[in-house]
């Protein structure tokens, strides 16, 4: 087990929404634009890394019978910190992400990594794992958000990039567009995966 493999597995081999197919609720809901994807991804990464650190530090101290309750308290605390910080410094992003920030608490990726990885490994490995998974999640949301923003509004990161006569498919920024787009990406990832 090397530090590099723990970090990179989250970026490709076990990239959360595409390979593990976890955390789909925010993946589908907030990816109407690339910027929202990055914001959501980074917020989740912060929570993931911090909760991994704490869970790993406390892994010998927390009795196994109450571990899930303890993890949830730890995760929820970091989520509230993120929410307060966003209200204070990134209010416009907070207005868009809204309810999905508190919902990071129930994001399976965060609890999943705490339970499956951080509770069994040392702090350094847990940080690598959390960072890798978090950045993988951020990258996935950004790609999904970029595709939907490009096709749905002709924009990328808020700037108009397509030719002016381009007629945006409003469908793509609506919920069904999210499913279709995610489906194509999952299929695409599987094609690449099976070729090897």
């Amino acid at each position: 087990m090397s530090l590099a493999t723990e970090f990179t597995k989250g970026l490709w081999k076990e990239i959360p929404p595409f390979r593990l197919v976890l955390g789909l609720c925010p993946t589908l809901a907030v990816t109407t634009a690339a910027k929202n994807g990055i914001g959501m991804g980074l917020a989740t990464t912060f929570v993931l890394v911090c909760s991994n650190i704490l869970v790993s530090l406390l892994r010998k101290f927390i009795p196994s019978k109450v571990r899930i309750a303890s993890y949830i308290v730890i995760i929820a605390s970091f989520v509230v910190i993120v929410e307060l910080a966003m209200q204070a410094y990134f209010y416009s992003l907070y207005q868009i992400l809204g309810i999905f920030i508190p919902l990071i608490v129930v994001n399976c990726i965060v609890l999943g990594r705490a339970e499956a990885f951080a509770s069994k490994n040392s702090v350094v490995y847990s940080v690598a794992d959390g960072l890798g998974m978090g950045l993988g999640f951020t990258a996935s949301l950004t790609v999904l958000g970029s595709i939907r923003e490009l096709l749905g509004a002709g924009n990328l990161f808020g700037a108009h990039v397509l030719w002016s006569s381009f007629e945006p498919f409003t469908f793509m920024v609506k919920a069904p567009g999210a499913f279709v787009c995610l489906g194509f990406l999952l299929g695409f990832m599987n094609i690449i995966g099976t070729k090897k």
Binding site: I62, V66, S77, V80, L84, A85, A88, Y89, Y91, S92
Partner: protein, 194 residues
């Protein structure tokens, strides 16, 4: 038994530490959170009633206690001064009155001489097509420059034409504006000096 005691202790410590951290973070972010809330939620209506200023009215806001509510609790109100060259020219603050469908809240800008700078309807639940027309510019523009005596419906000797079919809404907006103008002399000195 020992197991149970250990679980209780561990959970207590974790929850206690979490509570302590969160209350600290909440206190630390109190000020910037309030600022962003006002900046994003209220600033659009503040901007609508102020003009020709060179400061940040949200940053320079003054919070004063104005009277008491029905339960005897003090009412806190925020005032947003527009300054030009360091001198307060206009003060914006909100006011509300009960209309036909519920409370109508109005942002009122009052010039330092007591006349009205502008009025903007922030939120209402009036009937679409009737009372909801109070947000239209022709209605709110009538208030511009009026002094306290002239703020009244034209049917009652004032200078504001009511919206046809929505006299309750029109009267409520007039009342909200009048309340604000009556409050103004009481708070003017405190807002301008800070």
């Amino acid at each position: 038994m020992r197991d149970i005691i250990r679980m209780v202790i561990v959970l207590t410590i974790i929850c206690g530490a979490s509570g302590l951290t969160l209350s600290t973070v909440k206190q630390v972010t109190e000020e910037p959170r309030e600022y962003s809330y006002l900046k994003f939620v209220k600033e659009p209506s503040i901007k609508a009633v102020l003009s020709g200023y060179d400061n940040d009215p949200v940053m320079d806001r003054v919070t004063l206690t104005v009277g008491k509510d029905d339960k005897g609790q003090p009412i806190q109100k925020q005032f947003f001064p527009a300054k030009s060259g360091g001198k307060v020219t206009t003060i914006a603050f909100d006011s509300s009155a009960i209309g036909y469908g519920g409370p109508i809240s109005v942002m009122v800008g009052v010039n330092i001489d007591g006349s009205l700078a502008a009025v903007s309807i922030m939120s209402h639940s009036e009937t679409p097509g009737l009372g909801a027309r109070s947000t239209e510019p022709w209605f709110t523009a009538q208030f511009k420059g009026l002094s306290l005596g002239a703020v009244g419906l034209s049917s009652k000797g004032g200078k504001v034409d009511a919206i046809s079919g929505a006299s309750i809404t029109s009267a409520a907006v007039v009342k909200a504006v009048r309340d604000a103008m009556e409050l103004f002399p009481k708070v003017k000195d405190e807002v301008t000096k800070s």
